[in-house]
Amino acid sequence: MAEPRVRVPSTVKQGEIIEIKTLLSHPMETGHSRDVYGKLIPRYIIHTFTCTYNGEEVFRADWHPAIAANPYLAFYTVATESGHLRFEWIDDKDTVYATEAEITVV
């Protein structure tokens, strides 16, 4: 399983608004397409993404099948304090893909 990828600036000024970019390898099967035998391929998507900043949730996404495979997501947060950002993706098989990033606020 490919590791999720996140891009977070490592050192920022206090109060700065930072952009976070994330990418995860996932088929995001819609549940609407069929295999070569005409059988429906069951839905298999990431339905929830969360970003917590030192344990507090700062951003969450609820996804449906209209999100492309290998979901890319970019959003913003305010750099309040030094610490760690945790990113979690949960799919239909309850698999949790997680990664963390350290941030230093000066």
Binding site: I17, T30, G38, F59, A61, I67, A68, F75, Y76, V78
Partner: protein
């Protein structure tokens, strides 16, 4: 007219091909009914998410290409005008895709800690359509924005086989 193209590269036997063409012909006659979300389904989804509140157009910008060669991965950025302060911020952004089988694409939960109400993803679009975004604000008002896109070859065109 609905085209039936599978994304897979496989060698079809003549028999399979003929069977599929037959099925496709029937489907073309029947039309793609049921393959896309209906306007009622979209309205229902909107009501479920924002209740009886009436969205006010403006303040929500969608950055979406005008034309996409395929609908498999279309970049979309939604931006909401908001100072994103504890007093005045965006709570949620909902994205609706009326031309897809399921009307809701995504819901993003934000707050004052987001700093900026902007989210980017890549969408899967089944056909040409208008993408709608609604933003629920902290004062319980709802803002809306929309963008149209022409999709030359939709995502998951194979679904036509089964419907």
């Amino acid at each position: 007219m609905q085209y039936t193209i599978t994304c897979r590269t496989e060698l079809l036997s003549r028999r399979t091909l003929l069977q599929r063409l037959g099925a496709a012909a029937i489907l073309m006659v029947m039309g793609p009914a049921g393959a896309w979300a209906t306007q009622e389904a979209v309205q229902q989804a909107i009501r479920q998410l924002i209740g009886a509140r009436e969205p006010q157009p403006g303040g929500v910008t969608l950055r979406l290409p005008k034309i996409a060669e395929t609908g498999n991965s279309v970049p979309l950025t939604v931006t909401v005008d908001s100072p994103m302060t504890p007093e005045e911020h965006v709570l949620r952004i909902h994205v609706f895709v009326e031309g897809n089988p399921e009307p809701v694409a995504a819901t993003y939960h934000l707050g004052p800690r987001a700093g900026k109400a902007e989210v980017s993803t890549r969408m899967r679009l089944a056909r040409s359509q208008t993408v709608l975004a609604l933003a629920e604000m902290s004062d319980s008002s709802v803002r809306s924005g929309a963008a149209s896109i022409v999709v030359t070859l939709g995502a998951c065109v194979e679904e036509v086989w089964g419907n």
